[in-house]
Amino acid sequence: MKRKLIFTLFFSLFGLLSFAQEKEENTKKDKWKYEPNFMVGVDVLNTGVSFFSDRQLFQGFISSRIKENIHGVVEAGFEKNIYQKNGYDAQANGPFFKLGAFYMLAKDKENEFNGFYAGGKIAGSFYNQEYFAIPIRGFGGNSSSVSMPASSQSSFWLEGTIGGRVQLFESNFYIDVNMQPRYLMITSKQEEVVPMIVPGFGKSSSKFNMGFAWNIAYKF
């Protein structure tokens, strides 16, 4: 746990430094027209944390500037996670996909890919789950559990995205950091049991959750 925290701290400090490098300069404004442009990113923070944690999360994105301030984004990932708490023992793993767009709220005049943005995505996860134990609670420390066989399930949610993107020096590399507030819209259920974890969404016993991504991206 401690190693995981240090790892997270390292990245947050690194992020601070990177943002500090932003400069503001005035340049002329041109009429916008779409030219093929892509940025491909990989979430290095969660990939790194996966080595120290039961939660293994690998995710990446492809984004493209569609209009002047609007970027489209497609994300995909894979998560494997366990839930062992309050008498539960469960595991889930599977891929997830997200599709959405964001709006550049504030951008660097010199490089219009630098800036802060906000937007939204729809997301879906198609996963396998197995519940080894679901608690049965009784009085006086009287408890037991039931299990469910492995099954395939799917969940869908809405996700906000609030973040920033900054060019690394003069290279084609960018750092893209964003927060992902999530709201679980619909989920399939096995024997009416609400899933405790959903790959890509996280802990799902409540409908709200917050995700985080720290990406290294390359702009083509």
Binding site: N86, P135, R137, G140, G141, V177, M179
Partner: protein, 145 residues
């Protein structure tokens, strides 16, 4: 930026009372009439250990938890005075598992309740009530003193 790293969560779901496994309601009779007891102590054999649920003073009923594991019966002991003997009652049933919520997990309901008095004194006889437990409202068993 660091504050962004604090993960939001709080998945410690609370199970509100009344949503869990219902207990068995037991009332008392004396010469065919419902009566209150000055004192009664209930012990339940939960399989792993016998749990003492303490003295109840001047009560007309007690709520007794049954085992939630796969055992087809629960042994319950009743005592009405500190120095006296205790009666042993075996309650047989079939169970049904019902999912409640993430916090509560699964609860048990009991069906086909039958009770046998394995050891008399102070209880003389048993009289069955409602033979299933879905909530704690109806009386499932009468102890006759």
């Amino acid at each position: 930026m660091s504050f962004l790293m604090i993960s939001c969560g709080g998945d410690d779901d609370i199970c509100e009372s009344g949503e869990g496994t219902p207990r068995m309601k037991i009332m008392f009779k004396n010469a065919d009439k419902i009566t209150t007891l000055d004192s009664i102590k209930v012990y339940v054999d939960l399989g792993s250990n016998i749990v003492d649920f303490g003295w109840n003073r001047t009560v007309d009923s007690v709520l007794v938890p049954l085992r939630v594991d796969d055992s087809p019966f629960t042994d319950v002991y009743f005592k009405t005075s500190a120095v006296g003997d205790s009666s042993k009652v075996r309650i047989n049933y079939t169970t049904k598992s019902i999912y409640v919520s993430p916090g509560c997990g699964v609860k048990r309901n009991y069906e086909n309740l039958t009770s046998e008095l394995l050891k008399a004194d102070p209880v003389i006889q048993l009289e069955p009530g409602q033979n299933f437990i879905e909530n704690e409202e109806k009386t499932n068993l009468y102890l006759i003193f």
